[in-house]
């Protein structure tokens, strides 16, 4: 009984707001009907309509912890009917977000909005919500920027992410991708979590590792019939270029701008 009362009170509370909204453009375009698929209920945004409810996308990113080693961190981006605002979630169960990360996301949102006419138009009708699903206490750095930009583009275009792919990279306002480092550890973390492809900044597919080899050099000198053995150890450091793809066994794709990253990460 109580459940019914609660339910009815919600119904009364929200029906007033929903009744004012007719389903936008549903008659004007045959692609614009209410589209119910699993959890998300959206209006197909190929007709540039406002999503009726929220719609979200999850992007697998990888972080390198201060203790070393990579960790897969899922970023969920949700769009709700709104007016172009950007929110970050934090709570007792999700990490605090460093300023640098917030700034990189602000850039990512701008890049996504300016990506094409469709993302520009749709971004004005929604508010975007970003949240990390992770046990870490704080998220730092800017390497989530590229994933945030492409994720937002996919969401605004109502497209989905290719499965089995992770991404890392910084992004500038002009859409260019900036290097982030730690790619080898990140690739390993993705590989361990069952991912098959890793999209990274151009030039970071080869990592320079140092190898050292020790040799002992001995010289023998004879002075006045006495034999002197003189030995020293020599350590030679060699810089060995190591292919992330070969070392880890994951398909690595280098990208230099957001357009390439989008083409690589969109399913289809």
């Amino acid at each position: 009984m109580l459940v019914i009362i609660i339910f009815l009170s919600f119904l009364l509370g929200y029906s007033s707001t929903t009744s004012k909204k007719s389903i936008p453009q549903s008659q004007s375009n045959q692609n614009c009907g209410l589209n119910a698929s699993n959890v998300k209920v959206v209006i197909n945004s190929t007709c540039n309509s406002t999503p009726y409810f929220s719609n979200s996308i999850t992007i697998p990113l990888v972080a390198v912890s201060s203790a070393g080693g990579g960790e897969v961190v899922n970023l969920t981006i949700t769009e709700k009917p709104g007016s172009g605002k950007t929110f970050f979630e934090f709570s007792l169960s999700s990490p605090l977000i460093a300023n640098e990360t917030q700034n990189s996301f602000s850039r990512a949102v701008e890049v996504a909005k300016n990506f094409d006419a469709q993302t520009m138009l749709n971004s004005q009708k929604v508010d975007l919500y970003y949240s990390f699903d992770s046990n870490v206490s704080e998220v730092d750095g800017y390497s989530a920027g590229l994933g945030a930009a492409v994720g937002t583009i996919l969401l605004l275009k109502n497209e989905s992410l290719k499965t089995g792919v992770g991404v890392t990279g910084g992004v500038e306002l002009n859409g260019s991708v900036t290097p982030v480092g730690g790619v080898l550890d990140k690739a390993q973390a993705l590989k361990n979590a069952g991912f098959t492809e890793f999209v990274i900044p151009a030039g970071e597919g080869v990592v320079n590792t140092t190898e050292n080899s020790t040799t002992q050099n001995c010289t023998q000198t004879i002075v006045n019939g006495q034999v002197f053995n003189e030995c020293f150890t020599q350590t030679i450091y060699t810089i060995v270029p190591e292919s992330v793809e070969k070392t880890v066994g994951i398909n690595v794709v280098e990208v230099s701008d957001v357009k390439q990253a989008y083409a690589q990460l969109a399913s289809q």
Partner: protein, 201 residues
């Protein structure tokens, strides 16, 4: 049979309208001003807005106008906890939305903690914040209030903005108290409940 279909139709509609309440963006923001110190070491009042909506116990910050340092996020989480205790409610079924309204680069520090707690109580209970009262105090883990930096500059900024009362922690030392203008009354309070009560009166 037709009645059954009609019933299912009505049920679907009601579930959808229920979900929209949960999944739409917030409205009904209140605006409040946090005394702050700029990099140039002058005081200013930074405008924030806050809204509360049925949800899942989450907290959202708007990152468009400025970034919020992790210590600001931490102080907001403390404020949420203190507000829950003061009102004796659980906010796990609500989402909180915090927006900063000026175009600053970044906001840091915990001195807005007591103000955040007051704003949460204000939005949740519908009692307005006193527009003539300002506060600057850090929240501690035991509900007491801790002193903050730059208090003289903050009080002067509040006075310049027409505020007549300024609440600080009972532990707060005000270095130049005798030189402050008489038009603004300094009120020292011991804990967060007293602070919130004074902010809402």
């Amino acid at each position: 049979m037709n009645l059954k279909i009609f019933f299912i139709f009505i049920l679907t509609l009601s579930v959808l309208s229920f979900l929209e309440g949960y999944f739409s963006s917030p409205s009904g923001f209140i605006t409040f001003y946090a005394p702050a110190i700029t990099t140039g070491n002058t005081g200013e009042l930074v405008p924030f807005s806050l809204a509360i909506k049925p949800g899942f116990g989450r907290v959202f910050i708007n990152i468009q106008n400025a970034s919020f340092a992790p210590d600001v996020q931490q102080s907001f989480l403390l404020a949420r906890r203190d507000a829950e205790q003061i009102m004796n409610v659980n906010l796990n079924n609500y989402d909180l939305y915090l927006v900063i309204n000026n175009n600053g680069g970044s906001v840091s520090g915990e001195s807005a903690g007591a103000l955040f707690a007051s704003a949460i109580v204000s939005v949740f209970t519908g009692k307005p914040l006193n527009s003539k009262t300002e506060i600057s105090a850090m929240l501690a883990s035991n509900n007491s209030l801790l002193p903050v930096d730059g208090i003289d500059e903050k009080i002067l900024a509040a006075y310049a903005a027409g505020k007549t009362r300024f609440i600080v922690s009972s532990q707060q030392v005000i270095p130049n108290e005798s030189e402050l203008p008489p038009g603004i009354q300094i009120i020292k309070v011991g804990n967060v409940s007293e602070a919130v009560k004074a902010m809402l009166s």
